[in-house]
Amino acid sequence: MVTLAAPPDATPRTTRRSRAGTSAHLAEQRRTGLLFAAPTALVVGVVFVLPLGLLFWMSLNDWPLIGVSKPNWGANFAGLSDPLFVKAAGFTLVYTIVTTVVLSAIALGLALLIQQARPGTALYRTAFFIPAAIGISSSALIFYGLYTQPTSGLNELLATFGIGPVAWIATPAGAFWSTLLLVIWRFSGFFMLILLTGLQAIPDEVYEAARVDGAGPMRTFWSVTVPLLRPSLALMLILSVTGSVLAFDQFYVLTSGGPDNSTVTLVIALYRKAFVQYDLGTAAALSVVVLAFLLVLNLAQFALLRRDNTK
């Protein structure tokens, strides 16, 4: 959910005064620029800015799925103190923290494992990130089968070790950890790739210098690798936090928010409010709150990322 780059006006000016400098040419450029940017402007305007404005308006209205809407001002926001929402917020928070910590650790381990080019590295790397090609809902269906089918490969493998039958998604705690396992499978290769890109950007000379200075592997890791990897680590953090706060597919498919509403995330609560209870106004109000929260979080992390980038 973030981009690393210089601002758009940072493109270097041409030094040579050729035809590119004449006013007729500049006018022609301006026309082409407007024409070429028009589709972007259209999409951004109609499918992004307009719905964003509508979201704020809806959050201030009593807005049923079918029928006439009318302003009720703050009433939707007052409705957010519903215990189900509060519980969903708490669950999402715990899920986000646990997922981010576990995923980051695993992704870093995988990246360090295969950062050096050796025979076989490319093959292992592909195996690690192949789940990223499969949709989250399909991944959840794969794990649904593995968990709930008594004859699944997973359950039979465990049975040969005398383990099981495991309740997997039948208990609240089981549902949480089972979903985490699915998320690890689906995303750790993806995050590994982010870190790998960062690791490979660290020049060999830096490691060489550390070695000459007599730094051991642990010292090198903490004093060289981690600081130089900070932009990639920060990017992974942003993506993991944002993705986890917005978690929907994995819980909707794997646990359906159950058992006993124990795995209802914010977006599942939002979805239910809008399309099960047909109360779009309250769902919009919840959206506004989630949006504001993530915006603040993203801006804070973004600032951190930018600062590290310019080091």
């Binding site: 493109t11 940017a37 949709g135 089918q149 944002t242 929907f248 939002l270």
Partner: protein, 273 residues
Amino acid sequence: MKLRRTLGATAWHVVSIVIAVAFLLPLAWTLWSSLTDSGASPDGGFGFANYSRVVDYGSGLGTYVLNTGAVALMTVAGVLVVSVPAGYAFARLTFPGKNVLFVLALAILMVPYATILIPLYVLLGWIGLQDSLVGLALVLVMLQLPFSLFMMRNSFESLPRELDEAAYVDGCTSRTAFLKVLLPGTVPGVVTVCLYAFLASWNEFIAPLIFLTDGSRFTLPVALVSLRSGSLGQVDYGALQAGVIVSAIPCLFLFLLLQRYYVRGFTSGALKG
């Protein structure tokens, strides 16, 4: 010393292989049970009966594959129409509103899209695109826009400016310079953008779940999840696994074929989750 190194390399391979197998197993298990489990064949062995059951499920697997393919194709085409010329304009041209538009397009990343799905649902209804694959593709184009725009702008920026200069000296306008001189140099970026747009639209779940209501318009992910919900509480695991395999095959194929371009999406500095 040499022995230690050999031992170290062997240990590294063993660890890597174990992890690689762990990542591949869920897919392998699913493929295996789709061919052998719960009524794969009348005699209880190996067979394709799960696949023929999923072909007949609901409106038919063919319909869902066509719907998903149509959405993916429209999304890829839309992303190209929007991001390729705009990438050039943002990299090379000066025009009014340039910076405002760029910031707005990147702001899409800052606004989590699950939060604007509800107004989008209402909006699509107003413009007559509710329950429509076109409307769904339009939303998916918007979702892919920041990444694609960024990728294409970087692709054009990485080309040497001497190319433009030479084209202008030869009498090109900015449009002919774009078409004849610069565009061919950005093909790797275009492939990356297409790959990401395809994977994202083929696999998208929450947007079609909300926007599509008529079963005959469902995309594969939504159709498969409704198959999972089963009839009378019975889950047809065999058909479900067969369906998952069918929907994963195009993605796996493109992914393995174009892996280099997928990784490009990470190294180019443009990234979206």
